[in-house]
Amino acid sequence: METKLDELQTRPAGENAGLDRRDFLKLCAVATSGLFLNKVSGWLNLLAGQKPPLKEARFYRRADHLAG
């Protein structure tokens, strides 16, 4: 449905606002704790001895002796 310009102008202040300061801080807190938990789970994986995602290949050799 279309919103008319004069309708918007008659709304009480704040009703159409995106984020107030409190909401913004809450969001930041959630995001930061998410990042922190991610880090912690990374540390736990390391402690549990989980391997990094890459697997060392078989059948190769160092090739420093080759030219080019």
């Binding site: 697997k55 059948f59 190769y60 080759l66």
Partner: protein, 324 residues
């Protein structure tokens, strides 16, 4: 700069630190070579074994089929180019370590695991580790490969394998060079090494109009198979669909495939099939001794099976394959 030389396939890529091999999935990190696709398949399907295609291995069973991104050949007409000609960053990958593959295969009621779609050579470590666990769990290990692999890694893998379908794309180096940026001899060597190791082998030849569809192309392939691999090695002439860099070509006409089958049988091959075509004689297995229809197929579905303990029910001729 610490270079490494990959010895897995005949390309022998010499990879600088931070670089990747030609297959896009093996990388030099700090002077060590790593697989970027271990446990990271981009294709996981439960398929009829007839789709692999294996026509002489456990008919009507299903095969847990996996592939990762990448390939060490670059066929202009690749039928799976959307995964084979892509680095792993450009495909949707699952986290499925070897033990999970085996667990899921058993859960789905599959009798085998197929390493297929792109090429298991380039996800060698994943194939190898999964094969070991699968064998222990009583599953068969099936390879569908272009056979572009070095002798040593193949020899290591052979004890874990049960069956392999090898693509022989053409019969000249020139063809391999133009179509796939590869060479012929390693592929033929791979077929013979598999046979020598006692692995069940079937051959697939993708018949591409104007590229390898002349009588002499088909005859050369059939003669080589009969002479070196054996007249009882099944050969599948598979229909090409216009794709990747060959969208200018038509699909392989059915007549061409029928002609290929006729030529190969006239050369003495006993089990010649036509692939990617829904029905017809080219889908069926016949007894080489009395012509009795043994297995009738409609697409990937087996509609009749007259094998009794792997033998022709009429004359008792043993039909080679893995039947139970």
């Amino acid at each position: 700069m610490q270079h490494v030389e990959c010895l897995l396939c005949p390309r022998h890529c010499r990879i600088p630190e931070g670089g990747r091999g030609d297959c896009r999935v093996r990388a030099n990190v700090d002077g060590k070579l790593f697989s970027l696709v271990y446990g990271k398949p981009c294709a996981v399907h439960v398929d009829p074994i007839e789709k692999k295609p294996f026509f002489h291995v456990l008919p009507t069973s299903t095969s847990f089929s996996i592939a990762t991104a990448g390939c060490n050949l670059h066929c202009k007409g690749c039928q799976n180019w959307t995964i084979s000609q892509r680095p792993p960053e450009e495909t949707d990958n699952l986290d499925l370590p070897p033990e999970a593959v085996v667990r899921e295969a058993l859960r789905a009621g599959c009798r085998s695991i197929a390493y297929t779609y792109s090429d298991p050579v380039i996800f060698y470590e994943y194939t190898f580790d999964t094969s070991v666990l699968a064998r222990q769990a009583g599953l068969l290990n099936l390879l569908h490969t272009a056979g572009y692999i070095e002798k040593a890694p193949l020899a290591d893998l052979c004890p874990e394998l049960h069956a392999a379908n090898v693509d022989i794309k053409g019969m000249t180096d020139d063809f391999y060079h133009r179509m796939s940026r590869g060479t012929l001899q390693p592929v033929l060597d791979c077929v013979l090494a598999l046979k020598k190791a006692g692995i069940w082998v079937e051959i697939t030849n993708l018949v591409v109009p104007t590229w390898n569809d002349r009588d002499e192309d088909i005859r050369a392939l059939a003669r080589w198979v009969r002479t070196y691999a054996g007249k009882d090695v099944p050969v599948h002439f598979s229909r090409f669909w216009p794709m990747h860099e060959l969208t200018n070509l038509p699909p392989t006409p059915e007549d061409t495939l029928a002609r290929a089958r006729k030529i190969a049988m006239a050369e003495g091959l006993q089990y010649v099939y036509i692939g990617n075509i829904q029905s017809g004689n080219g889908n069926n297995t016949y007894c080489p001794d009395d012509g009795q229809l043994l297995i009738a197929r409609d697409g990937y579905e087996v509609t009749e099976n007259h094998l009794v303990d792997g033998k022709c029910e009429r004359c008792g001729t043993a039909i080679p394959g893995i039947w139970k």
